[in-house]
């Protein structure tokens, strides 16, 4: 096997390994006993001003974490859905955002999970539009020191179910809770 073949094969195989590694990232809202969900902690470090940090409550059937990119000032998680397609949901977490569109009524399907935090629900907004063959909806959840943006792009006809799934799946954990976990290990977040 020539060097070139090795390089090309490695380049192709690396994509599979990367996808597997992403699924190992700890982003659960409730960590296993005695552990810290380091993905959530990293997101907290990316936006140190935020009082809440995105996390995953549970994965509804057919959903997986696809990408996890965190830089100083921004964290982005994307999720694949077997019904909605690759990258069906992208969750962006930043310090500030500029919501557009109309306010989302509190009783709208899919908003329930996040309502439990009562994070300035009056500024919960939704911007929906039909875009080609893809249903696209962007929702902004703002709270003290941070903003979480849901970007749902799914196959038309599945949006109702998948929006509910997304809202059940992604939640917020208080920074204080994370700080307590880290402090229990002897460090300061």
């Amino acid at each position: 096997m020539t060097l070139l073949t090795v390089v090309l094969a490695a380049a192709l195989l690396s994509g599979c390994a990367t996808a597997a590694a992403v699924r190992k990232v700890g982003v659960l809202c409730v960590p296993p006993a005695g552990r810290i969900e380091t993905g959530v902690v990293l997101m907290a470090q990316a936006v140190p001003s935020a009082r809440f940090v995105p996390c995953v409550d549970l994965y509804p059937a057919g959903w997986t974490l696809a990408t996890f990119r965190v830089t100083r000032g921004e964290a982005v998680m994307s999720f694949d859905s077997d019904r909605g397609g690759a990258g069906a949901l992208e969750v962006r977490f930043v310090q500030t955002c500029h919501p557009v569109g109309s306010s989302l009524p509190p009783d709208v399907l899919g908003a329930k999970g996040l309502h439990e935090f009562r994070v300035k629900s009056e500024r919960l907004r939704q911007f929906d539009k039909e875009f080609g063959p893809t249903y696209q909806a962007t929702r902004y959840y703002t709270f003290t020191g941070g903003c979480m943006i849901f970007d749902l792009r799914v196959t038309p006809g599945t949006e109702s179910t998948l929006t509910t799934d997304a809202a059940i799946m992604v939640n917020l954990v208080p920074r204080a809770s994370l700080a307590a976990q880290v402090a229990a290990a002897g460090f300061r977040l």
Binding site: L3, V6, I36, T38, G39, L42, Q45, R188
Partner: protein
């Protein structure tokens, strides 16, 4: 050669590592002139390295150990699971100590240093380096450079996610960062980029060493800056540097060693010829002594201009009896085989395959085959140089074939082409036909004239039991060579003494386009007079013999080449998009 060099000795018995008692006289090998005594050959015992071992050098060995330690450390972190806090005491203490000395001016410097690890700068440096390597036609360096980056980039994205270590606790981060912290992908990327540039562009020597020292300094400063800014732990930076440097160094040491793929500029820079001084020169001397029983007195490059596929040399030797004479050596490296393979694939895509033209699988096969063809042709009475066999320099990478030196021989372009030369040249083809052989590369550079007789060299691409078409092409090309430098009518007349008119007609019906070697086509064009047309006007009329143009293989190769180009483009675009450059 120094006075201390044991190979200066004229007697094989005094050579270091050889038997201290006189070795029994061995009969000369087949094809070796009978008066040459080649006793004193020595078998390399198990466990002893080859003449020129694959070179890892001290830095290579250092990085093997370094990478092994990194692997152990990362495995330990991965297995423990509580890495976020468990092993961080030392790191946290270091981070706190750095944070305690933060002052404004130092922060500015640290941020400036941290900018060196930005994707933008890294990618710019890499693309400039890639463009430079393409410009200098260092394909091997390019593949190793890109391959190492793919591996390092992949490790820099996958390992941090698998290990999941957050940024330092207890301190406020005041610099830019991306992703989990262990290993530091930013430090690894810059270290690899700078080292890759050093390997790809700087020849061995003082400037290269300086570049590597400067790289060390930059990487240490970057690591310190990132710890100061609270974006990396101490161990993140150390492991990142270790991975970036270690992988790049080992990639070049294993796949692109300086001795085989030297970086050179000027006329040497684009040459396929290997340096036959230094360690390789010493290895050649040892290998010829141990494997052929000849003591090398001197090695000089010879006929480099006429050879693109090997490194030819003239070697002065003595045999066991003390007789001094010259032999001809051709050093083949795996690069030559690869170049030949790429050339044939490109030609197959562009023009279609010339039947039975298959590339060699390895350099060992190439040199074995040339040695075999020399022996077969000599047995058939063809005027070829006698072979002494070939010697191993580096297993599966470099071999040297040693043959009789045709002293006083001139290339046919510099010789007078009289009846004797014409007859002996045509006789070569007659003997090849009678023995069921073909040379397949009959061109001026491969026909030497000595004592008024033609000799043929470079038989590596010869073939046993070739197709009739290939044999006919050999005849036509030989007649064209003789006709270019001599009188075509005389060549035709003399050809009819050894071949039938039908044979000659078939030859010129077969030869066309790519079946004529490039050098011969150029010479015909330079000399003018349209030698090919002259011959065709003399030979009996015969319909042209078609060259196979399209085949399943050619279609497959074309599709594969297009797919490779597309994949390369996708990688390029993906890389640019990943960095936000497009």
């Amino acid at each position: 050669m120094t006075a201390a060099d044991p190979l200066q000795a004229t007697s094989p018995e005094t050579i270091a590592g050889a038997a201290t008692v006189p070795a029994p006289a061995a009969p000369p090998g087949p094809g070796v002139p009978p008066d040459v005594r080649t006793a004193g050959r020595r078998r390399r015992p198990s466990g002893e390295g080859p003449a020129l071992p694959r070179e890892l050098r001290r830095s290579g060995r250092f990085w093997i150990i370094g990478l092994a330690l990194c692997a152990v450390f990362l495995a330990y972190v991965g297995i423990r699971g509580d890495h976020a806090v468990g092993i961080s005491d030392l790191d946290a203490a270091v981070s706190r100590a750095f944070a305690s000395i933060r002052v404004a001016w130092l922060t500015v410097i640290a941020n400036a240093l941290n900018w060196l690890s930005s994707d933008w700068l890294n990618l710019t440096l890499r693309w400039v380096a890639i463009a430079g390597l393409i410009y200098f036609r260092r394909l091997r360096h390019l593949v190793v450079f890109v391959g190492a980056f793919l591996l390092i980039g992949w490790m820099g994205s996958v390992l941090p996610m698998l290990l999941g270590r957050p940024r330092p606790f207890d301190v406020t981060t005041i610099g830019d960062w991306t992703g989990f912290s262990l290993p530091s992908a930013a430090v690894a990327a810059l270290a690899a980029t700078l080292l890759g540039i050093g390997f790809g562009f700087l020849p061995d020597g003082r400037w290269k060493i300086r570049w590597f020292y400067a790289t060390d300094v930059v990487i240490v400063l970057l690591g310190l800056a990132r710890i100061y800014l609270g974006v990396d732990h101490l161990t993140d930076a150390v492991v990142g540097a270790c991975l970036g440097m270690g992988i790049m160094v080992l990639a070049f040491r294993f796949f692109c060693p300086e001795s085989s793929f030297p970086v050179a500029y000027g006329s040497r820079g684009r040459s396929a010829h290997l340096d036959i001084g230094g360690a390789r020169g010493a290895a050649i001397r040892h290998a010829i002594h141990d494997q052929l029983g000849l003591v090398v007195l001197d090695v000089k490059p010879f006929g480099l201009g006429a050879s693109g596929g090997s490194t030819p040399m003239r070697i002065r030797v003595t045999d066991q009896a003390g007789a001094e004479f010259e032999v001809f050596g051709k050093l083949y490296a795996s690069t030559h085989v690869r170049a030949d393979r790429n050339y044939k694939i490109t030609r197959a895509i562009l023009y279609g395959r010339l039947e039975d033209e298959r590339p060699f699988a390895s350099v060992r096969h190439l040199v074995e085959f040339e040695d075999y063809m020399l022996r077969v042709m000599r047995d058939a009475g063809v005027n070829v140089a006698a072979t002494y066999g070939f010697v191993e320099i580096t297993p599966e990478r470099e071999y040297l074939i040693v043959t009789e030196f045709l002293d006083g021989a001139k290339e046919i372009s510099d010789a007078e082409v009289d009846v004797g030369v014409i007859d002996s040249g045509l006789a070569i083809i007659r003997q090849l036909w009678d023995a069921g052989l073909a040379h397949r590369d009959v061109k001026p550079a491969n026909i030497l004239v000595r004592d008024g007789r033609a000799h043929i060299i470079d038989v590596a691409f010869g073939e046993v039991r070739p197709s009739p078409w290939r044999q006919a092409v050999d005849l036509a090309n030989m007649m064209l060579v003789l006709g270019v430098y001599g009188d075509p009518e005389l060549v035709f007349e003399r050809a009819l003494r050894q071949f039938t008119p039908d044979d000659v007609a078939e030859a010129f019906a077969a030869v066309r386009g790519v079946a004529i070697p490039t050098q011969l086509r150029s010479e015909m064009k330079a000399k003018g007079g349209n030698t090919l047309a002259k011959f065709r006007s003399m030979v009996p009329a015969r319909p042209p013999i078609a060259i196979q143009r399209w085949s399943i293989r050619r279609i497959g190769l074309t599709i594969a080449a297009a797919a490779l180009i597309l994949l390369a483009l996708l990688l390029v675009i993906g890389n640019l998009q990943g960095a936000g450059l497009v």
